[in-house]
Symmetry: C3
């Protein structure tokens, strides 16, 4: 429990940092940057809880508010060093993506939803914080145009579903899902894998 919680907070801080840094590029003020960071960290889970019609997770604990505060401090104090640590940030972000996907799937199954809804909710939990971030800073969502990000979450979800169908217990399902999600994301980053791009009609 404690170990998972530490991982979750690392993922939340990494997500918040990505939001705060992009808000900085747009020259948002401190308060605005904090809110963009917060929405990046908890937006996916919030959308999941609203769609599942269960209590929104951050209304029972302010962990994510603290995590975003930590992210804010890191960006303000270590801004220059961060640029050289981008790779570490992306690794933490990938760990967060993997864990958030598992959390989203398990919350949905606990709420009594079928596995395919759970896979969709895993994707929403993992990837839609970044979508909401990009909407707030008025950019086209990055995850729809670059890298394999949402797809890594989706593939992890499919693996969870297969393990689930084969009778795997929660730990086995969760570990295989997170493992696939993290591996696909890291390989995609390392080898610059991309999905095929859509082409407009007039070409």
């Amino acid at each position: 429990m404690t170990f998972l919680f530490i991982i979750e907070m690392i993922g939340a801080v990494a997500a918040a940092i990505s939001g705060i840094r992009l808000a900085s590029v747009k020259r948002f003020d401190w308060f605005g940057a904090y809110i963009v960071g917060l929405v990046t960290a908890l937006g996916g889970g919030t959308l999941r809880d609203v769609l599942l019609d269960i209590t929104v997770f951050w209304t029972t604990s302010w962990d994510y508010f603290v995590a975003t505060g930590v992210a804010m401090a890191i960006v303000l104090i270590f801004q220059r060093q961060l640029v050289r640590r981008l790779k570490a940030l992306l690794v933490f972000d990938a760990i967060g993506l993997a864990l958030f996907t598992v959390i989203g799937i398990e919350k949905s199954l606990m709420a009594g939803r079928p596995i395919w809804v759970a896979i969709a909710m895993g994707l929403i939990t993992g990837a839609f914080g970044g979508v909401l971030r990009d909407i707030l800073i008025n950019e086209e969502p990055l995850i729809f145009r670059k890298d394999i990000y949402a797809m890594a979450s989706f593939l992890g979800g499919v693996v969870y579903g297969i393990a689930f169908a084969l009778g795997g217990d929660q730990v086995a399902c969760g570990l295989s899902c997170a493992g696939v999600c993290l591996t696909v994301r890291m390989l995609a980053l390392h080898y610059s894998w991309h999905l095929p791009i859509m082409h407009p009609d007039n070409e």
Copy 2:
């Protein structure tokens, strides 16, 4: 039932195609385009269900996921022909608008809401998928600037309300609503009807 379901799926495919084609213009990748298509098809109904606090419709059936897959295949395979079939697409889209408006109104009445809330929900069901699509691809919502689209849904809703107040049964109310919505939308397309544009202060 089956007939209505076929119409609903045609409307969903038409909506998804509009999302996928606009995502193509922005050079989203395949996965991103699929998600934009999906949000266009089911976004309005999702917002309605969240606002009504009822079970989000797509969490009990994956029809819309399949419909978006069909839309994706149509765009990828028939892209060039689609450009010459724009008129057919717009007709299907108008049929979807009319049917989604009726579905939104009836779902709201079934949830025990007053008729004016139902009309608002009909509009949201019919037109807000396109709004969410335009937010995702980072464009100003088309329906607020061009053609008579949301207004057609609204007028259909008002006609539903009148038929409802006059004691019409569900079929009569639904048919008159869909008929008005579809007629207004098709006439607006054919004669290039527009609503008056707002003018900024400095003119």
Copy 3:
């Protein structure tokens, strides 16, 4: 009750006017401008109610629809005069911000949520209508980049929390919250106070 209701409607009209005027700059049509105005007026409260999982407030009364209609008439008829009355508009908007913050906090406490959730909901009620407005018109949210706006709501919320912890009754808590929020906002407008801006990495 009646006095508070009049204040709330003035706040709603002021919020709707800000949405309609920004939609005019983007040359939305009348219907689109009305919807942007409506979303500005009721968007924050809607998000609050969805996050608290309580009945969305505007589905039980159409006050805000009427208030937006009044705002629409004011913009269309008095457009030129409005430019010279910008200061009055900003005062009404600040009054709305203060009252919406109090309403958001009290609704959350009535729903049994802890005070820190209530403060967050006060901020969302007061400031997120403007965020949703800026998302709809495809601009970077103004409140994250300019002036002290969301911060005024937040400070008012903190004062509510302090008064609440000290055992103040509802009237005392509400008045001190609204007073601080309004004072901070008006001082920020008058002296052009800003929060520090974030700087991107490469500086």
